[in-house]
Amino acid sequence: MSFDFAFLTSGNYGALILGGVLMTFRLFASAWVLGMLIALVLVGLRGVPLKPFQWLLSLLIEYHRNVPTVVQIMVWYFGMPQILPRELRIWLNQGDTEFMFAMIALALNVSAFMAQDILSGMRAIPSTQVEAARSVGLSVLMTLRYVTLPQAIRIAVPPLVNRSLILFKDTSLAMVIGVGELTYQVRAIENLTFRSFEVFAVATGVYLSAALILMATGAVFARRFPADFRR
């Protein structure tokens, strides 16, 4: 076996891989932002004092936590068009349909985990701290700024970074519905050229570098803002 990466510069293989990398990052970024927004809404809805509504919310969150991400993508892409209203379907089909459904599925999936991470960050702070802060004369905003948030963020951010890493890896699952992200392009090029080692190596390198950056970010944060800073 001889390895030759030069073929990547010939023809349009290089362009395909680059396009795949860009698509992977686009999918990751849009699913992350949308997922975070949904997570914040979910956290807010957790405050609604209505039992049946809370059960529904729990069911939604548990569905997204206990069903594989691929299956969630399939439910959205193959199944949901059956029941979505016509106008919405037309709107989704205007642009890149596969991308839209993959983004929705990934965002909903990650939002369930993010909501849980944010909630456990908030629950970790005893309510007596808020009461104490308020009684020594801090305003609501000051309590949030100096007492609650500094502690909650230290607890919530490490799992959120970890979840972001998993989301980045999960973008590869969008391959199954034909989103042209990195893994999809790699498989397509491998089928055409049989240069398995070279294309796999390039893709692995891309995933690994992104993962290392995310892991390093998490480690730096954990060192600068340790959760048990009281010691």
């Binding site: 594989p68 691929v70 439910v75 199944g79 893994t183 893709a203 995933y207 993962a211």
Partner: protein, 230 residues
């Protein structure tokens, strides 16, 4: 949804067995169970290596963990699909290819659980047993690992849930498991995609939710035992 379940229930559960290879949800559980079981010994070695006093050993184990945690399982499956036949010199069934990939992938995650389990024990345990004259191997075998493994049980159950969910992607190389069965049902039915995939989701949900609850139960019992209440 119920008629899909009624008509194709056995296909979802066991695939085309006994007329063909065992598949369906049984295939998923076998793959996940074997994957986790076979990666466990590797993970114990890796976890111990991550805490080793020898720097090169520590680095090698860390590199292993970072690499296999950092790349998507699909990518590892592609690598296995390409490398395993080259190494063995023969064609390998898709099931074994998928199993290899899952063992490597899960070993990295389990290693972190093992490491956390060992680090969760008070240092005094190791120091006392070493001072009492036990060797490193004896200390690990009789003092550290039995306690660490018990404490790890909830995490292990959670990892089994993750493994079950992770195996759903192996249908891309044609392994007979429940997602593959759903694809088959969908290509027969064609018009009931939502119902078919929701039935599929239901299978995963039932198993994974029950196991997650079990993990929480174990966690609570272990905490109570540690506090000396049980």
């Amino acid at each position: 949804m119920l008629d899909i379940l009624h008509q194709y229930g056995t296909m979802f559960l066991i695939g085309s067995w006994p007329n063909g290879p065992i598949g369906g949800f049984a295939g998923t559980l076998i793959l996940a169970g074997l994957g986790l079981g076979l990666s466990f010994p590797i993970a114990v070695v890796l976890g111990l290596a991550r805490l080793s006093v020898f720097e090169p050993v520590r680095w090698a184990a860390s590199a292993w963990v970072i690499v296999f945690r950092g790349i998507p399982l699909v990518m590892i499956i592609f690598w296995a699909y390409f490398i395993v036949p080259v190494l063995t010199g023969t064609t390998v069934p898709a099931f074994l290819t998928a199993l290899c990939a899952i063992v490597f992938y899960e070993s990295a995650f389990l290693a972190e659980i093992v490491r956390a389990g060992i680090q969760g024990l008070p240092r005094g345990q190791t120091e006392a047993s070493r001072a009492a004259g036990l060797s490193y191997v004896q200390t690990m075998r009789y003092v550290v690992l039995p306690q660490a493994l018990t404490n790890m049980l909830p995490s292990l159950v959670n990892q089994f849930v993750s493994t079950i969910k992770a195996t759903s992607i192996v249908y891309v190389i044609g392994v007979n498991e429940v997602t593959f069965a759903a694809q088959q049902v969908n290509s027969i039915e064609l018009t009931h995609a939502l119902q078919t995939y929701l039935v599929l989701a239901g299978f995963y949900f039932a198993a994974c939710y029950a196991l997650s609850q079990l993990a929480q139960l174990l966690e609570r019992r272990l905490t109570r035992r540690r506090l000396g209440l049980a």
